[in-house]
């Protein structure tokens, strides 16, 4: 069947665009920044062709704000950025969390901090994706290691943002963003799309935009529609009106956190390779999972009992899935391109944190099988 499907040879950034359009993207606002700029360039061409809106804003902050404004009118909206741009967007990401406005924020990670290594790969924004904006909150962040998965995760980012009314961060990296490989374009309808849940409350009836249903979901009404309501970044009551009542604040913060943390299982996306009998479990994500997988395939061919757990959802962190997969392992090796951001989460998740080790790269060089092999040998008590 695949033979009849359209096969493309694309950059990851281009795949992200194809998938966003597949998901029904209507609005994009952005600002040029390496290594994510191709997403804006391609959408400047493609969005108007389908009647969508593209705008290059004056800065990263404005792009994020414009995306939220557009989403409130009922449009599926997205922005993309990298490095310092992701820092600048944090204030408005927090607004989208608080006001529960669905949107997708792509961060094609590059080396940091600050201007860092603009053209080089990194996975240093994992914690920023989780805690970049101030205050207690939860967030959803997805990632991918190859183009087929990137397509699915981009669509999933839109689906989750609509389901949970929250910004979803799509956190891939420079290697995935700029690497070219095959994409088999899914047919329309092949991947289910989540459309925005809209209120059934009729005109003239009191609509409570921030009164969650029993399942925690909030049916929306488009700005410009028949229900006029207030949206604010302040703590607010069920009408969206500012409140400093302790009960209201308690309920709201719990709602914002619980709607995500109570659904970790539904949000979790993982891939497993040779985990059934693995003595050594590698845990990786994004482009470094490619290296990890290469390493696993090589060692398996030599008879080593080694496997890979690839994380595709990073936040909420899939604690249970990680704990279960690591239960029987003698050691766990986290493979990532930062100083150990997911390492710490894995240590928190497993029963024996002393068996968790790190194989990393932080110099903008793509992590190689040798980098992992060296740590692997050290763990085994062999020389490098």
């Amino acid at each position: 069947m695949d033979k009849q499907k359209k096969t493309l040879f694309l950059q990851g950034n281009e795949v992200c665009v194809e998938a966003a359009l597949y998901a029904g993207l209507d609005f994009y606002a952005g600002y040029p920044i390496t290594p994510s700029t191709e997403i804006a360039e391609l959408l400047a061409v493609r969005l108007p062709k389908k009647g969508g809106k593209f705008i290059q804003m004056e800065d990263e902050i404005a792009s994020m704000c414009a995306v939220i404004g557009a989403s409130l009118t009922g449009n599926k909206s997205m922005t993309a950025t990298s490095g310092p741009g992701f820092s600048l967007k944090q204030e408005a990401i927090g607004y989208a969390v608080m006001a529960e406005v669905p949107c997708v924020v792509v961060n094609v990670q590059r080396g940091g901090p600050s201007t860092g290594l603009p053209t080089k790969v990194s996975q240093g924004d994992v914690m920023q994706a989780r805690w970049g904006t101030h205050g207690d909150h939860s967030v959803i962040a997805l990632t991918a290691s190859n183009h087929q998965d990137l397509f699915h995760m981009t669509v999933e980012a839109f689906n989750l943002s609509e389901t949970y009314r929250t910004p979803v961060i799509l956190l891939f990296d420079e290697v995935v963003g700029h690497m070219r490989e095959r994409l088999i374009l899914p047919e329309p309808g092949e991947i289910p799309l989540v459309q925005r849940l809209r209120t059934s409350v009729k005109e003239g009836t009191d609509y409570h935009p921030y009164l969650p249903r029993e399942d925690g979901r909030l049916p929306m009404s488009d700005f410009g529609g028949v229900h006029r309501y207030n949206v604010t970044g302040l703590v607010h009551d069920m009408w969206g009106f500012p409140s400093d009542d302790a009960k209201v604040a308690y309920g709201l913060i719990h709602h914002l956190v619980d709607k995500i943390e109570n659904n970790v299982k539904a949000i979790t996306k993982i891939k497993e390779y040779y985990l059934d009998d693995a003595e050594c479990v590698l845990i990786s994500y994004g482009s470094s999972a490619r290296t990890a997988r290469h390493m696993v395939e090589n060692r398996r061919a030599r008879g080593d009992r080694i496997g890979l757990l690839e994380l595709q959802s990073l936040w909420p962190f899939p604690v249970q899935a990680v704990r279960e997969r690591c239960e029987k392992a003698r050691y766990v090796l986290v493979v990532e391109m930062n100083m150990g951001q997911i390492l710490q989460e894995v240590k928190k998740a497993v029963k024996n944190p002393e068996k968790v080790f790190l194989a990393n790269r932080i110099d903008g060089t793509f992590i190689s099988p040798t980098d992992i092999r060296n740590v692997f040998r050290l763990i085994q008590g062999k020389g490098v």
Partner: protein, 266 residues
């Protein structure tokens, strides 16, 4: 429609201090809306943070109370998505000119069909009286205890230089013109700016020993002249009020509609 129809009464009373000018602006903005017979479902009001920005919560439109300085950026996304909606953005002077200065000049440059109303009280009121970009040289504020060093932005000149196509200024003393100018601004196709000097007796007035609200309104009366008045030549310190600019120029969303056509037929 009477102006009462535009108010969310259950969210009153408002938070503004006794004597504050912002209520007068709100009142006359609603009179303008009532005279224009605007359908409430077609109006989106976007505000930032500050005393002025609380205005949106009290009004029965689609209201979006956003981040400090960012109202115009939110409004731009909204307007481009739904160009047929009337988008009004009341802002304070700190909101519009300091933290939001970049968004202000770029919204003006795009000439996007948004009405920006700058309620200029020359101070940060919400945080308790710090100097703003329009406090004025020598004036006092909690963060300028020995007198403010810098001169104010000339909002009219700034808007003009940045590309706004409708620019007006008035004061809360001249309430009828507040209504009329907002009416004209909303009716204008393009980015419209109305600066309204609005008294803050609690902080600016007290810090600078101007007196109470009535004294401040009297100050506006005595220190403003109509544009082109010969009095301005005699006393350059007088503040001009009226419509400074009204031009028909391509509006951003209309131009984008042409892009859509080009992309789809090209």
């Amino acid at each position: 429609m009477s102006i009462k129809d535009y108010v969310r009464e259950r969210f009153l009373p408002h938070i503004w201090c006794p004597g504050c000018g912002h209520g007068m602006v709100m009142n006359n903005m609603l009179r303008a809306m009532a005279e224009l017979q605007i359908n409430k479902n077609n109006v989106v009001m976007v505000t930032g943070i500050g005393c002025s920005s609380r205005i949106s919560g009290y009004l029965d439109f689609h209201t979006l109370h956003t981040l400090h300085g960012r109202a115009l950026a939110f409004a731009t996304g909204l307007k481009l998505s739904r160009p047929e909606l009337t988008v009004v953005v009341p802002m304070g002077d700190g909101d519009a000119l300091a933290i939001g200065g970049n968004h202000f000049i770029h919204a003006a440059r795009r000439n996007i069909g948004i009405t920006a109303i700058i309620m200029n009280n020359s101070i940060y009121g919400m945080t308790g009286g710090q100097f703003s970009p329009s406090t004025g040289q020598g004036k006092k504020a909690t963060t300028a205890p020995y007198g403010n060093i810098t001169e104010s932005f000339d909002i009219v000149a700034l808007a003009k230089g940045a590309g706004a196509s409708f620019i007006a200024r008035t004061t809360t003393y001249h309430v009828a013109s507040v209504k009329n100018l907002i009416k004209e601004a909303i009716g204008h196709k393009g980015f419209s700016v109305v600066e309204i000097l609005s008294q803050c007796p609690t902080y600016f007035g007290r810090k600078n020993k101007i007196g109470d609200a009535v004294d401040m309104l009297t100050y506006y009366k005595d220190n403003t002249v109509a544009i082109g008045s010969p009095k301005k030549a005699e006393n350059p310190a007088l503040i001009e009020k009226g419509i400074f600019l009204r031009e028909e120029r391509p509006e951003y969303c209309s131009e984008y509609a042409k892009i859509l056509e080009k992309a789809q037929n090209g």
